[in-house]
Symmetry: C2
């Protein structure tokens, strides 16, 4: 088949589309493992940074997760009411809201430890392919 004028606009020729679809697909694959923990995917990656750092400002979380306050503020309020984190104004700088992890939030880590292996076992990639994919994706994010 000879190249056609609008080939560049065919869905099958896009890189963006499999990227968009694969991202949604992977979030979807997490769901059965996160539901029992009472976490959404975005809450899960938020807990990941909280498990590592214990205490962060909203904008620090935003930098790690590439999310803005319009997404984070309502979600963090929900997570607070679910008992996973605390939200307190910083005394050093009243503009900042410090997010800290509660004992309950900390405890959830023990159950979450199983999640990564469970998910990767249902993603159809070898370890090598996964590493390759990860490094290509990181070039896009900069």
């Amino acid at each position: 088949m000879k190249p056609q004028k609008y080939d560049a606009l065919k869905l099958e020729n896009q890189l963006c589309f499999p990227l968009y679809a694969a991202a949604k697909e992977v979030v979807h694959r997490y769901k059965p493992f996160l539901d029992p923990l009472g976490l959404t995917y975005t809450q899960y990656i938020t807990m990941m940074v909280m498990w590592e750092h214990k205490e962060l400002t909203v904008s620090q979380i935003g930098e790690y997760l590439h999310l803005d306050t319009g997404t984070l503020t309502p979600m963090l309020k929900k997570m607070e009411s679910n008992g996973l984190i605390l939200r307190q104004r910083s005394k050093r700088d009243e503009r900042e809201t410090i997010i800290s992890i509660t004992p309950e939030g900390k405890a959830l880590r023990k159950q979450a430890i199983e999640v990564p292996a469970k998910v990767s076992s249902c993603v159809n990639l070898t370890l090598d392919e996964a590493l390759q994919l990860k490094s290509l994706l990181e070039k896009i994010i900069i």
Copy 2:
């Protein structure tokens, strides 16, 4: 550094996170080129399948784009009111809503033809890397 118990839960060790972040990033890179066309990213990929097929049911669009009616119905109504498509119940099978492209929608293709090249020029991948990435992503989508 010796491996730690919770390494599997570190954000930096996840494949899912760069996938999630890269997908959002790429949609973001489309914005400056789609805004002048009056299209969102999701509307853009919808137009892609409409430019190719002229006429599709809602669920056929959903299959191509991996989207369900909860997403599509309101978006298609918006695209109809923007004059890009028509929504009509099928006479052959009254359950189906046939989406067809309008002359206006068809005309938009001429402006959109520039978009793919513009976007790929601001994504930091060689052609070879892009093809490799695409094929890895397609393994996830199945």
